[in-house]
Symmetry: C2
Subunit: 404 residues, 2 copies
């Protein structure tokens, strides 16, 4: 490719009103005039999607997934056509493409469709004619020719998938924060913006409470090696690069701390400790579509053990119902649900070669009088469950202890 | 076809909010349970289209027609998916179809596209599976695979075109009035609802200020002989049938009176009376896309004549500009624009055989002291231009004179 191609994705707040759309159009026009080819991916304006869901709640208790997708896909049509008109005013020829027109082919799982293929002929043609394609994020067309949406973080996924299919040199994700921080700046005011982070670290952050990027889109970017640049559409300053780890990247022991308050801990007491029991519990949970995060099993005493696990708080009712049913079947004593928990996670590629991190975490939290209720680790992450009331104190203490 | 097929079209006010959508769903469900197959065509909810146009005005001065179509087509996606969900709640399986999915193929004239073909396979399949297709009105897909809209009255046209393509027994047009009246009830409080009217009469009414049905959709219905039933989605009472004239239909001398206040009269004085002059004027006007309605030319005195014509008031500025340019070229004396006019029209299939109608019109208006400034007639219509301030008095007097 002789000309650099960028994919720029703008989220809902970035195109939240007509002034924001004008600002985005101005930035796209500058990029284009800088001699670069640009493909733009947009989300629906601000609260449009919430408003549409509210309308659906009003008319129906049975929200047919196919019709929900038809409904929600209206949002991006509005933002993308407005952006194209704003670009035309600036003398930039832009053409909007629905998911279907952009050739984003998905499976038939409405409201959580997966991209199967991208037939980018129309986009390539528009680019070769010097036009700026503006593509609807979050949506595609199924193999049954129905409109589908990609679920949470769908617009990021659209952008990364297009960047991969078109061989873009970078996928810029414009949002309302200026990058990925060492911790949530609302909790830790002196949190610092990271200039770069590896795909693996970003994956751990995204799955442990970091809300800047959706997990799926980071997985997609890693699998296709698409460098991401997360940055602000309000300040336009350079943000955080998310890319393959390389020697030039500083290997901090701990890169960032994330936290998650929307979880619940469920405990089964006096579970008979024999093979197959854990499988029975977690198969039943999985069958209801609930993602279990951490699992802890105590040592066995008198042939019995306690098992605790965490799950998203919104699934608490279902998880308790399923667990109680299984508890009866396997002869466990009781089931307890605890929604007052929080999880703090430390992520850093350098952890692999620094075995002392866990000890520092324990010492730091002990010094603050914070009890650790559950622990799980990966090669580059340590997560601890603590009381929700102590969660922010834990984040602040750890951020300071690791001098972030 | 063994089962009766109805096409039901619901306008913007009929699906204006969630309660209206529930009422429409209820009516569709009753029709379906009555053993009939139903295809529903919906407009965008209430003021959605106006809101979208307002957004476009905010972001852009150059409203690219292709992008305007993309923008406006979002409106029907919302109303149709909501209606499908409301139907699902009532146990009626409904499937929404965009213009493209419904196979409505148009030319590439954005914002005023014409339907070229209807490929109804997906609709036929859904009907044969016992489902109720809910189709987006007003939109189609062009031969270049772009989203198009059909312009004013587009949803009525969609409904009639589908009724023709599917061989429906009737196309029901649900709106916020209960049918076609002998005059506008806001002007003539004792105006009566007509139970039936011929296509030809409806065409004359639609083109002379009657706002119940768009002219195009009536032309389409006449050409394909699709009976229309115009009725209210608020009272659900029987409305007015629009169909081929037959012997059983009462041939009133005058069926209805319509009026139009949004016009302008433009007059050229002392136009040299030689061949080709009128052609030069009206070619120039037509080239700017302005529809001229009535044209009057006085008798020639000393080789000069005066020419007056009427046009939509919104085109006044352009029409004056063009006319003044032509006036200079052809050596006319002056050009005057008059926006203070109104037009009253009497329509009736029985006029053909009753030559005295014109005389009664003149006598009635003279008795009221109303001066007639221009006249035009067809076989079943008489239109008079009067002062706008006297328009409503003219309508009332004529409605009474013809005992409607």
């Amino acid at each position: 490719m002789c000309v650099t191609l960028l994919v720029q994705k703008y989220g809902g707040t970035s195109v939240g009103d007509s002034e924001r759309i004008a600002a985005v159009a101005d930035h796209v026009a500058r990029t284009r005039r800088g001699g670069k080819d640009v493909v733009v991916v947009v989300s629906a304006m601000g609260k449009t999607t919430d408003d549409l869901i509210h309308l659906a709640d009003q008319v129906s208790k049975r929200q047919t997934p196919r019709e929900m997708d038809m409904l929600l896909s209206a949002g991006e049509r509005i933002s993308m056509s407005l952006l194209c008109m704003a670009l035309a005013d600036l003398g930039v020829e832009a053409v909007s493409f629905t998911g279907s027109q952009a050739g984003i082919i998905t499976d038939t799982a409405h409201m959580k469709a997966k991209i199967l293929d991208i037939k980018a002929e129309r986009l390539c043609k528009a680019i070769s004619e010097g036009k700026v394609p503006v593509v609807a994020g979050f949506q595609g067309v199924s193999t049954a020719k129905d409109v589908t949406t990609l679920g949470r973080g769908g617009s990021d996924t659209t952008a990364v998938a297009l960047a991969a299919a078109l061989g873009a040199s970078v996928c810029e994700i414009y949002t309302d924060v200026s990058g990925v921080f060492t911790a949530d700046p609302r909790v830790v005011p002196n949190a610092k913006k990271l200039s770069a982070i590896s795909f693996e670290e970003m994956l751990e952050l995204a799955s442990s409470g970091g809300r800047v990027l959706a997990l799926r889109s980071v997985e997609f970017a890693r699998n296709y090696n698409v460098p991401l640049h997360v940055r602000s559409s309000f300040t336009w300053e350079p943000g955080t690069w998310v890319k393959e780890e390389d020697e030039t990247m500083e290997q901090a022991v701990v890169s960032a701390i994330s936290h998650e308050a929307q979880e619940v801990k469920i405990t089964l007491t006096k579970v008979p400790d024999k093979p197959g029991v854990a499988a029975q519990i977690f198969r039943a949970i999985a069958d209801r579509g609930i993602n279990v995060d951490m699992i802890v099993q105590n040592i066995s005493i008198d042939g019995h053990t306690d098992i605790s696990f965490t799950a998203p708080r919104q699934d608490m009712e279902t998880a308790l119902e399923v667990t109680e049913k299984v508890a009866q079947q396997i002869g466990a004593e009781a089931v307890y649900g605890d929604a007052e928990i929080g999880r703090v996670s430390l992520v850093g590629a350098g952890m692999k070669s620094h075995p002392g991190v866990t000890a520092t975490v324990f010492e730091t939290l002990a010094r603050e009088g914070i009890n650790i209720e559950m622990i799980s680790t990966s090669a580059i992450r340590i997560s601890c469950v603590v009381r929700e009331s102590q969660l922010e104190a834990a984040v602040v203490a750890l951020h300071s202890a690791f001098e972030l």
